[in-house]
């Protein structure tokens, strides 16, 4: 079966034409890493802005693993994001671990991976193409409703408060998000070059052919799904520590699945560079609009999604690269 989104992949050879872009990315990453040394991050909007942009980039790059590389268009990131947030919140409430604990990040990643495998086998085994997308959307909504109806354990629709007297400065959040982003990008880059990544690309381009040369397509699809579920859980954990309050309608919001898809589509599905560029552009637009016109921002993101699908189905990066 042909998955039309993905024809537009920008191949590795074409990356070489854009060494300049990669260099630019490295320089800006370095600048972002040393900025906190020179300016104070406390009570600066810029710091929060970059914090969210880092989270968006991490989410988009991880979404790109399952949907760009392996070709399974997922809208289930919100489920894993919320899962990570609730692991952090419930863990803190029941005194399994403290505030901003490394073990919480680790545990949320593991739980999310296990859930992704459990959900992934039935969904990916039976559903093709669009029905998988519908299934993942259903899963994330089911998670939200299960948590709302969870009673004492999940705190119901009221959510869970992360009560602590311990305060980490904003530097901590900034660098945590930055490190998560860098690690996710490295993971995606390594995966892309490795044999596993090649298998993902093979099964995306032609599933029957991939199966005939001995790739177990189902296992590799589930592997891609579970790898891409790690980052949203860790981001959710971090976001819960930032908000100090976890509510089902916030952390299981469809936006957490929608934005990564939108950003990757804008940048160009399947390419790492495209995911990063798309997240920076869409993330900035969404945040600036929600800052100045708070009521309008879902309207703008919805319209943006339609416009991208109609006008730029191949993403911005393809426009940049295909120039004569």
């Amino acid at each position: 079966m042909k998955i039309p989104f993905i024809e537009t992949l920008i191949e590795i050879e074409e990356y070489k034409k854009f060494k300049g872009l990669i260099f630019l990315g490295m320089v800006s990453a370095f600048i972002l890493a040393v900025i906190p040394v020179f300016i104070s991050l406390e009570r600066v909007y810029f710091a929060f802005f970059m914090f969210l942009i880092f989270i968006y980039i991490a989410l988009t790059v991880s979404w790109n693993i399952v949907s760009g590389l392996a070709g399974q268009f997922s809208l289930g990131h919100a489920a894993f994001f919320g899962l990570g947030a609730y692991v952090a919140a419930i863990g803190l409430r029941d005194k399994f671990f403290g505030f901003f604990d490394f073990r919480a990040f680790l545990l949320s990643a593991v739980i999310s991976m296990i859930v992704a495998i459990m959900v992934g086998y039935p969904l990916l085994g039976r559903l093709r193409g669009f029905y998988f997308t519908l299934g993942t959307l259903g899963i994330s909504e089911t998670f939200r409703l299960l948590v709302i109806n969870g009673g004492e354990f999940t705190g119901g629709a009221w959510g869970v408060k992360l009560q602590t007297t311990y305060d980490v400065g904003f530097y901590m959040y900034y660098y945590a998000a930055f490190i998560i982003m860098i690690l996710t990008i490295l993971l995606a880059a390594v995966l892309r070059g490795s044999k596993v990544g090649m298998n993902f690309i093979a099964l995306r381009d032609d599933e029957t052919a991939a199966e005939s040369i001995g790739i177990n397509t189902l296992n590799f699809k589930v592997l891609a799904f579970s790898i891409s579920a790690i980052t949203p859980a860790i981001c959710g954990c971090l976001f819960a520590y930032y908000l100090r309050y976890v509510e089902p309608n916030i952390v299981f919001n469809t936006n957490w699945s929608l934005y990564p898809a939108l950003m990757a589509l804008l940048g160009g599905v399947g390419s790492l560079m495209g995911a990063i560029i798309g997240s920076v552009i869409v993330g900035s637009i969404v945040q600036l609009i929600s800052l100045y016109f708070p009521a309008l921002h879902p309207l703008v993101s919805g319209t943006l999604l339609i416009l991208v699908m109609v006008l730029l189905p191949k993403g911005i990066l393809s426009k940049l690269i295909r120039k004569p």
């Binding site: 268009f73 669009f130 409703l145 009521a295 879902p298 919805g302 339609i306």
Partner: protein
Amino acid sequence: MDITQIAQICLYGVLRGFVYSIMALGLTLIFGTMKIVNLAHGILCILGAYLAFSLIDLGLDPYFSMLLLLPLFFIIGVCLYFGIFQKTRDPNSSTVSSFGLLIAIQTLIMIIWNPTPKMAHSYFSDILVPIGVVSLSSSRIVLSALCIFTAFIVHLLLKKTWIGIAIRSTSEDAETSSIMGINVKKVNCIAFSIGLMLACLAGVAYGTNYAFDPFVGLSLSFKGFIVLTLAGIGSTLGLLVTGPFLGVIEGIVGFQLGLGWTDVISYLMIIILLITKPTGIFGGKKI
């Protein structure tokens, strides 16, 4: 749970289910011809309900304002088709744009009206009709009669008229039917617009009997899709059975476990259905 309660739950579930049937009918037309799962279908229903709600202020009963709203929705359908769905490259990107449409309309509704739940009060809502041990609001009887009537009309439209045959042949094989001289774009446009008219009808019927707010959009689309999957593609009258079936299940689950669980059950049902029986009960075609 005594016998009166069971009768009441079942009857109310059946009547509620007819609304789902009409929604699923619109979805079938759109899905059959263009292979788009229109995720914005539910919110378009709700938009119809809100418009009917506003027209009450002008002194129009919701069931009469439907006469104004149906042509309006036909025009909206034509605009949406030529503006968005004709221009997207493939069914997947159309579906993603319909998700964008869902969010955009939802926000528009929240800006124009506010997000508090509303109900469009009809003249019929106040008249109670006793049937055996249960008593019913006559508005629900009007609703179900309207839904069944519409389903039969659409069934006849699909089976007997020229445009119905064109729609069916397009959903069978678009390429071959374009060779046979069918203007596929026109047929798609008409099917989409009729689908939206059915959405409007379902929305007004929903709005006069149940409270609605902008957030039920996605779950309504899902319910329509469950009913559609249960019946199978291409089975118009089968929808009239599976819709009430879902309604009764919802009623029982809501009564026994609490209303919060009804949506969980419907989401789980669609996932299990897609995995186990994608052909549906009445239709033979795999979706």
